[in-house]
């Protein structure tokens, strides 16, 4: 592993994103716009928006970085650039951490912009520190990136890659406790949600927003970090020097 190659990779990934103005605009505009939509959809149930507003700031990066990474990595696989890198003196962690670094930076900007709109214009409230929400947003972005990287190995076209969003992300969002608290769901679904990373990502955010940082919060954070490491290891296994 080499810091030079990792940083060069992060810079390269960021340069590719910077070129794509529309994607960049979507990354920065969609989360605040959706948050605004949530606010007015729940206009007559302000207590619901108060509950989920702040956690949402930290969940957008998870979903978006998942999508962007799965497409970006699929492109690396299909255009031959991954094969070229694999035939060069590049260690797999250089590539993984390079992507992670670039997307963590983008997530920080995204969470910053979304947070500014949320706390400045939409009266989103958080009892806990705003930086805590932003820090979790970055961790979630890295989790989304790691999951996207891993799952990109299972799609052979961009059509398939985007289908992972409804197939893999949407059920997790529904089960995470965001829309309905988990203990109000049927027992079976609650047990299933125990095994999904989004559950812990959401719970950690909800606890920061409620300023309820207890042992369970640190457990949630540990699970998120563990999922990042696991997804990165699995992702590394899908980066093959030799292919059939």
């Amino acid at each position: 592993m080499s810091a030079r190659v990792t940083v060069a990779t992060a810079y390269r990934v960021a340069a590719q994103l910077r070129r794509d103005h529309r994607t960049l605009a979507l990354i920065l505009v969609v989360p605040p716009a959706l948050l605004t939509l949530f606010k007015y959809v729940f206009y007559y149930q302000p207590e619901t928006f108060d509950r989920i507003g702040a956690p949402l700031i930290g969940l957008f990066p998870l979903v978006m970085m998942f999508l962007i990474t799965s497409i970006a990595m699929l492109r690396e696989r299909t255009t031959g650039t991954l094969e070229r890198l694999m035939s060069m003196p590049l260690a797999k962690p250089d590539l993984l951490f390079g992507y992670g670094l670039a997307f963590a930076f983008v997530a920080a900007v995204q969470a910053g912009v979304t947070g500014a709109v949320a706390f400045g214009l939409l009266d989103v409230e958080t009892a806990g520190p705003i930086w805590g929400v932003v820090a979790l947003a970055i961790a979630n972005a890295v989790l989304g990136m790691a999951l996207g990287l891993f799952l990109s190995a299972f799609s052979t076209s961009e059509f398939q890659a985007v289908q992972f969003m409804p197939a893999f992300i949407l059920p997790q969002l529904l089960l995470a406790g965001l829309f309905i608290p988990r203990d109000q769901m049927p027992e079976l679904l609650e047990r299933i949600s125990d095994f999904l990373p989004f559950t812990y990502a959401y719970e950690a955010l909800a606890k920061v927003a409620a300023d309820d940082v207890d042992a369970r919060f640190w457990f949630d954070v540990a699970v998120v970090v563990g999922c990042i490491v696991l997804a990165l290891v699995l992702g590394a296994l899908t980066l093959r020097r030799r292919t059939p």
């Binding site: 030079r4 190659v5 060069a8 990779t9 810079y11 390269r12 340069a15 590719q16 070129r19 794509d20 255009t79 031959g80 650039t81 094969e83 070229r84 890198l85 694999m86 035939s87 060069m88 003196p89 590049l90 250089d94 020097r241 030799r242 292919t243 059939p244």
Partner: protein, 238 residues
């Protein structure tokens, strides 16, 4: 020719891709100091053979040794460069940005970026995004990446397809001068007039090596006066 010159040694290489046995047991040596052309119709196994030499192909049997080491080992990743048929460069970066990135990966000095841009004649296009380049320009950008690290072994899969004749001549002159400097250059082609420029030829058909030798040697052997006819004669005899 002494054995020291044999840089690539392949013994009984067997590669299966899906249902198809692409290479049933190929043995071949490729020497340094010359341009070796791998000639054969598409589907004959040229790309699979090249991928095996670079060490990115899963193989079912046999040995592939490059510079005295098994193909694909970590040290060889610095010394062997590979250009795939489809240009493997980032289409959303400029030529220069692509080269700067790969130069970092290869730890090549930054002067190499300018040198390789000049070598493939992309000076005027260096600030254009790859996706805005013509097909030929993109292949040259991909070739430039391979030249960055001053590799000892260059494996080029149809690098001059679709290029204008002047440029093609210049690139072949470069392959020659790299070979003259002691590098090993293996180039695949299915174009006969390119085959004439090679010092050594390997004729591949349906995964089997039909003949090897210099272009003149093959013409003598078959009693023909052009390589197309020589190839046909050898293919029919096999």
């Amino acid at each position: 020719m002494t054995t020291i010159d044999a840089v690539i040694r392949i013994r009984e290489l067997k590669v299966q891709r899906g249902e198809k046995l692409v290479l049933p047991g190929v043995s071949l040596t490729v020497n340094r100091g010359v341009v070796t052309g791998l000639l054969g119709p598409s589907g004959s196994g040229k790309t699979t053979l090249m991928r095996s030499i670079v060490g990115v192909q899963i193989v079912q049997g046999g040995d592939v040794e490059v510079l005295g080491q098994p193909a694909g080992t970590a040290e060889l990743r610095r010394r062997v460069a590979y250009v795939t048929q489809a240009p493997s460069v980032y289409s959303d970066l400029t030529v220069r940005e692509n080269l700067a990135y790969f130069a970092s990966v290869l730890d090549a000095p930054s002067e190499r970026i300018d040198e390789t841009i000049a070598a493939v004649g992309l000076g005027p296009q260096q600030s254009l995004l790859n996706r805005n380049l013509s097909g030929g320009e993109r292949s040259r950008a991909s070739l430039a990446v391979a030249l960055l690290g001053e590799p000892d072994v260059l494996v080029l899969d149809e690098p001059t397809v679709g290029l204008d004749p002047v440029l093609r001549r210049d690139l072949w002159a470069q392959f020659k001068s790299l070979a003259a400097a002691g590098k090993t250059v293996l180039v695949s082609t299915h174009v006969m007039d390119e085959a004439e420029r090679c010092d050594e030829l390997v004729l591949l058909r349906e995964g089997q090596i039909v003949a090897t030798g210099s272009p003149d040697g093959l013409l003598d052997q078959t009693g023909t006066d052009d390589l197309e006819a020589a190839f046909l004669a050898l293919a029919e005899a096999s």
